[in-house]
């Protein structure tokens, strides 16, 4: 009886051994790539809102401070989404007849809240606090990106734990002086690491990486 496999089949066996390992690696790599992709993290995708509020116009154009609307960003864990009343502070006087703003006026008239779609949605087992980050010199821009250039609103970072922990392990890479926290387009006046290390000391920034810092 002749051999079923001729000698060249050994090549196929060798190739498939290496190829198999490579394939597993490739699938794993693709998987990891996928998990970090915007498709999964939801980053960089515009979120439709009931009123297409433009941060580019209000922040970039008019120069309204973040805290005019996000009132509790420096005092509470939640930065606060402004009540309709805050919109009406100005829009009871300007753009009175704009059909674009009808949902806002309707909300104010009827007492029914505007229902916004959440842009930055952390998992329910993560407890994030805005105020303490602001206090320690983490700029709005550091996580939220150039809000002043966003006509629509989107999430600029992955919000994955890997991303959080980059800063929690080495905050000096990202800190800025407290005066510049609300500033958009901030550039460090010198070497970020030198400034960052000074700020870590000055603001008594602890590198908190215990699980219970965020999970409880």
């Amino acid at each position: 009886m002749s051999q079923i496999f001729n000698r060249s089949a050994n090549q196929i066996a060798r190739f498939s051994l290496v190829g198999g390992a490579l394939a597993v690696g490739l699938v794993a790599w693709l998987g990891l790539l996928l998990m970090r992709s915007d498709f999964v993290t939801g980053a960089n995708a515009n979120v439709t809102q009931p009123v297409q509020f433009s941060h580019a116009h209000h922040v970039g154009g008019l120069g309204i401070d973040c805290r005019y609307c996000h009132t509790t960003v420096d005092s509470a864990r939640f930065a606060n989404i402004p009540p309709t009343k805050t919109c009406m502070n100005c829009h009871s006087q300007i753009w009175l007849t704009s059909s674009y703003l009808e949902p806002v006026r309707e909300s104010f008239r009827t007492g029914q809240s505007l229902v916004w779609n959440r842009v930055h949605d952390l998992p329910d087992f993560v407890y994030f606090n805005h105020s303490v980050h602001v206090k320690k010199g983490v700029g709005c821009e550091t996580c939220h990106g150039r809000i002043d250039q966003m006509a629509g609103i989107y999430q600029a970072s992955s919000l994955q734990m890997e991303w959080c922990i980059t800063c929690h392990r080495a905050p000096e890479q990202f800190l800025r002086p407290r005066e510049a926290v609300y500033q958009m387009g901030y550039h460090p006046a010198g070497d970020q690491l030198t400034i960052g290390r000074d700020l870590v000391k000055k603001y008594d920034v602890k590198s908190l990486t215990s699980c219970s810092t965020c999970h409880r």
């Binding site: 509790t72 509470a76 007492g111 699980c211 810092t213 409880r216």
Partner: protein
């Protein structure tokens, strides 16, 4: 069938001298002492048999098929992105409300003739947690388990939601009209047919409203009824002083206390204050070892008895004689009595000790004892010169004091006679709670118009023509008095969730007024705040009120804001009244005391499974009280202090009575989950009760707990336990004689946690006497060999910032369970149900271990709260394969739910058995009202996840963030864990061990401090302070050896 030999158990427990086989010094259950094979098997299992197995009838292939499908679906589900969440801001934001930051409002929980002052935590308008009000002048903080659980009562999905008329949903307007016209109709007849029945009311506003009604209709009557009230105490004060007076004890002044069947520390209007004052007088440090001494004679084990230095278990009917003998010994004129034979030495020594502490001694009688004994107690206090020092007498905080059973009996007679035309029941459930001889339900059927106001559509609602859902105290305006008379104006935390009405509105409707509760309550105080009006009536007239510093309030608005903010109206505590013993007060007492204990001994029947001549005593259930909390899952699942049974009531008998019954020969109890049923017969009526052998129960006496056997409680409370009201008669509501028990050949399953999570009897409880403490303050530290910190392979942890720790003082803890419920409320701990508890799957992060010491006939009791000890060398951390439990940089053993894959290795390796596993999806993710209760700062856990005590890490983080924002350090006492806050005795202290001046660091440095199982080199961060007792050496000879607690 297998033997459990009680005489062998006694022998084992008696042999403590090291000769031959010795039994344990501290034990949890009779099975443990008997060392039954079932118990040994249980001890070596992580969970009871069946708890960690998949026991559904499905076979292996079905299982694999299901799992395959589940995994495929779970995998697919994991690929989806999070669903879009919405943010719904206010249209106009309310002032002070910051999303994510809770607000606290002061109010009070009215409860059975008293009130618990509380602060309520509110998240975005949802009350989620009850905290104590530390500024309250009477309680100074501390809450009880009922207050802690009351927030679940608010969100109970079984609450009544609509007005019902004759079984149909009706609008409130229709009832309001019916009430107003009935009120108007009655007015003509002077109110002759109008009867109002309420629980014990302390609200000055409601009292004034009803008094106003009664003034307009002089023939109408207001009856107050509490199933568990202090009627005998009131009758006793009338006997002694000729008036209804309330004794207010000052335990901080008392050196020697005698309790005659009184659960002073865990029942009654003053319990929070008394527990606190009692604990402060038992703080010992080297060089300062003055302690109070507590003698207790009681008819069933109580929390107060557990703290006593000398505890005598006596049948309830023997206590009057003991009281008479002691009173005679103290020279109370007219007192006489012969102490029972077992109590003569006790009586002699108590008399000596009380006399040696004249003016610093106190005698207290309990509600189970007849009025004569209360009168005797008052006379003894007078004879000891204690009136004015350890006890003062004030008017009663109850607006309508009376002797409820008599009042209720008259009402039933009137209803049967057909003279009651309108019956309005305010928040009471007499059809369930009234003594059975009154047959309240059938009498109610003869009333043409009956209206019931209640939180639930309960038994009384089922027999009423109209039922109105009652507003929960967290939903409405009202006011209430604490034990000393201090008024709290109760404010609502949330709009009424359903179509509810308060008692205020119902009474107003009866007077033809339609007013909101705010208008009514505020109206009352507008008329009374500045002393202009003297029309407060039964509410008690208030003089001119000033703030706590004695300054007048400028305007009503200022007064109103201040009292709402502080949670009490300053200066409304009752002034002590001068008292004089009425002539003949005590002459009446010996008559009651003359009930000879010798005349009714235990009569063994001819059959060996039946015993007659027994006494029955009735007790409030430690968890569900008189049944009003029957539908509260937190309280149902709470193991009761002594039997550790949940979801049931059992009948306590003593070990000797059990032997007489023959239980000893054939008790097949498997690890405390099976008990025998017996027929309890009194006066020809028979009820089946599960028998529970209770160490320390007097021989020949059966203790029954009220509050079970509900039929209209709701989905949780229906059909649990037996109804002890069956045997309750209005003439003998507390003690019944001539009962007989017949053992049945039937087994009943109970969910009992006394054997769960055992720690194999090492030196867990450490207790010494005052003499031993004076001799060697560090006695507790010599009971086990604790390795030095460097005897470990692992490098020590370093803490640059904080290092959290806890200390629990066993000298203070009286096992009241408030901390356990507080932990459940704070940490979103689910209720698992009776079947799951029977499998050992209860989820409580904090448990209270109860240990007996000594013989099963007269044991001492010790309570030990055990939660995660947050070990420095944590056995759990090293075995987790996925790093789901890891050490934090502040010393906590963090539990990371999102990493946990449910191997349960950590739980197996935990020597303290404090980890809890979600075997099933226990958290209710669907019921909308229950979701409202959840603490938003704590993750709601899902199935397959391990969990445990976190030292309330959410509170730590909140305090840390707040301190950082304010650029300061965290202050000692700023972080208060839920258990610590709830504790009325301040037994629990939490803080930073790195701060040498913190309370917890000082407690850890205390000579009494010891670590639980520290000999395993786990280096627990929670330490315990050993208990120190102060026995009278004349009664207990000082032990020759070192303090008990373990083997070195």
């Amino acid at each position: 069938m297998r033997d459990i030999d009680l005489s062998a158990i006694r022998a084992r427990l008696a042999k403590q001298d090291g000769t031959g086989q010795t039994g344990p010094a501290f034990w949890r259950s009779l099975d443990e002492v008997a060392e039954t094979p079932e118990f040994a098997a249980m001890l070596h299992r992580e969970f009871p048999e069946g708890a960690s197995e998949f026991t559904d009838p499905a076979g292996r292939r079905d299982f694999l098929r299901l799992m395959g499908a589940s995994i495929a679906l779970a995998g697919a589900a994991a690929c989806t992105r999070q669903p879009t969440e919405h943010i719904v801001p206010y249209v106009k934001a309310p002032e002070d409300l910051v999303p994510g930051k809770p607000l606290f409002f002061a109010t009070a929980m009215p409860f059975a003739g008293t009130a618990v002052p509380v602060l309520v935590e509110s998240h975005m308008g949802r009350p989620t947690k009850i905290e104590p009000n530390p500024e309250h002048p009477f309680t100074h903080g501390g809450t009880d388990l009922f207050a802690q659980a009351s927030v679940l009562e608010l969100y109970d999905p079984d609450r009544s939601q609509t007005v019902m008329g004759k079984g149909e949903i009706r609008p409130w307007s229709e009832l309001s009209l019916a009430l107003t016209s009935a009120g108007a109709g009655q007015k003509g007849a002077g109110g002759g047919g109008l009867r109002i029945l309420s629980g014990a009311v302390t609200s000055p506003t409601l009292a004034a409203q009803i008094q106003g009604l009664l003034t307009a209709m002089p023939q109408a009557k207001w009856i107050q009824y509490e199933a568990i009230g202090n009627d005998n105490a009131r009758a006793g004060s009338k006997l002694a002083f000729g008036d209804y007076l309330e004794p207010v004890y000052r335990l901080d002044q008392a050196d020697v206390i005698l309790s005659l069947d009184a659960d002073l520390l865990d029942a009654g209007a003053g319990k929070l204050r008394y527990a606190r004052d009692f604990a402060t007088r038992r703080q010992v440090v080297p060089g300062q070892t003055a302690m109070n001494r507590l003698y207790v004679a009681e008819s069933s084990p109580s929390n107060t008895g557990s703290k006593s230095d000398h505890r005598l278990s006596l049948k309830a009917r023997e206590i009057p004689a003991l009281a008479g003998a002691i009173a005679a010994g103290l020279g109370v004129a007219g007192a006489a009595g012969q102490a029972p034979a077992s109590a003569t030495a006790f009586a002699t020594e108590v008399v000596k000790d009380l006399q040696a502490h004249r003016g610093r001694a106190l005698v207290v009688a309990g509600e189970r004892q007849p009025a004569a004994v209360h009168a005797l107690a008052h006379a003894m206090n007078a004879a000891l010169g204690s009136v004015g020092t350890t006890v003062v007498y004030t008017q009663t905080p109850q607006a309508n004091p009376g002797e409820g059973f008599a009042g209720l009996r008259d009402l039933v007679n009137e209803m049967n006679a057909g003279t009651v035309a309108v019956l309005v029941i305010l928040g009471a459930n007499p059809v369930f709670t009234a003594p059975s001889d009154l047959k309240f339900a059938s009498a109610m059927g003869k009333v043409p118009l009956s209206v019931h106001l209640g939180l639930h559509r309960d038994e009384t609602a089922a027999h009423s023509q109209w039922h109105v859902p009652e507003t929960h105290y967290l939903e409405t305006w009202s006011d209430a008095r604490t034990g000393d008379g201090t008024v709290t104006v109760c404010q609502p935390l949330i709009e009424p969730m359903y179509e509810c009405r308060s008692a205020h509105e119902l009474v107003a409707a009866l007077s033809g007024e339609i007013k909101t509760p705010l208008e009514i309550v505020q109206g009352f105080w507008k008329a009374n705040w500045d002393g202009r009006s003297a029309s407060a009536g039964a509410g008690g007239a208030f003089g001119k009120l000033t703030d706590t510093t004695g300054v007048d309030f400028a305007t009503f608005e200022k007064f109103w804001r201040r009292v709402l903010h502080d949670g009490f109206v300053p200066g409304t505590a009752f002034a002590p009244k001068p008292v004089a013993l009425a002539a003949g007060a005590v002459a009446a007492a010996p008559a009651a005391a003359a009930v000879s204990p010798a005349s009714s001994g235990v009569v063994p029947n001819s059959s060996d499974t039946s015993v007659g001549g027994l006494e029955v005593t009735f007790h409030a259930d430690p968890s569900v009280y008189d049944g009003r909390f029957a539908n509260n899952g937190w309280l149902q699942e709470l193991p009761k202090p002594f039997d550790k049974v949940c979801w049931d009531n059992v009948a306590y008998i003593s070990p000797r009575t059990a032997e007489q019954l023959g239980v000893g020969e054939r008790k097949p109890v498997v690890y405390g989950v099976e008990v025998y049923l017996a027929n309890l017969t009194v006066n020809g009526h028979t009820l089946q009760v599960p028998l529970w052998i209770m160490p320390g129960q007097p021989d020949g006496s059966i203790a029954l707990h009220l509050g079970y056997g509900r039929t209209h409680a709701g989905r949780i409370g229906n059909g649990l336990g037996y109804n002890a009201n069956f045997f309750r008669y209005s003439s003998t509501p507390w003690v019944l004689q001539g009962a007989s028990l017949t053992l049945l050949d039937q087994i009943y399953n109970v969910a009992c946690t006394q054997g769960h999570f055992q720690m194999e009897n090492r030196a867990l409880i450490r207790v010494g006497t005052r003499t031993q403490f004076e001799h060697d303050p560090t006695f507790a530290q010599h009971m086990a060999h604790v390795p030095k910190p460097d005897e470990s392979m692992y490098a020590p942890w370093k803490y640059e910032g904080h290092a959290w720790g806890m200390a629990i003082d066993l000298n203070s803890c009286n096992g009241c369970n408030a901390c356990v419920v507080a932990c459940v409320a704070e940490n979103n701990i689910p209720v698992v149900g009776k079947l799951q508890v029977m499998k050992g799957r209860e989820m409580h992060w904090l448990r209270i271990d109860r240990y007996w010491e000594g013989s099963p006939d007269a044991p001492s009791v010790h309570f030990q709260p055990v939660a995660c000890q947050q070990c420095e060398n944590a056995p759990c951390e090293v075995v987790c394969p996925v790093g789901a439990t890891v050490h934090s940089d502040e010393g906590l053993n963090d539990m990371v739910y999102n990493r946990c894959v449910g191997t349960r290795y950590c739980s197996h390796n935990c020597p303290y058995k404090v980890r809890r596993f979600n075997f099933l999806l226990y958290a209710d993710w669907d019921t909308p009202t229950l979701k409202m209760q959840r603490n938003p700062d704590v993750t709601v856990r899902s199935r397959g996840v391990m969990e445990k005590c976190t030292y309330c890490v959410q509170r730590i983080n909140t305090a840390r963030q707040q301190a950082k924002i304010e650029d300061r350090k965290i202050k000692d006492g700023e972080i208060v864990t839920a258990c610590e806050a709830a504790c009325p005795t301040q037994a629990i202290v939490f803080g930073d061990l790195n701060d040498k001046n913190s309370r917890v660091a000082k407690a850890h440095a205390d000579p009494r401090s010891y670590g639980l199982l520290a000999e395993l080199n786990t280096r627990p961060r929670t330490t315990y302070l050993a208990a120190v007792r102060n026995p009278n050496t004349a009664l207990t000879p000082e032990p020759a050896g070192p303090a008990t607690g373990g083997h070195h």
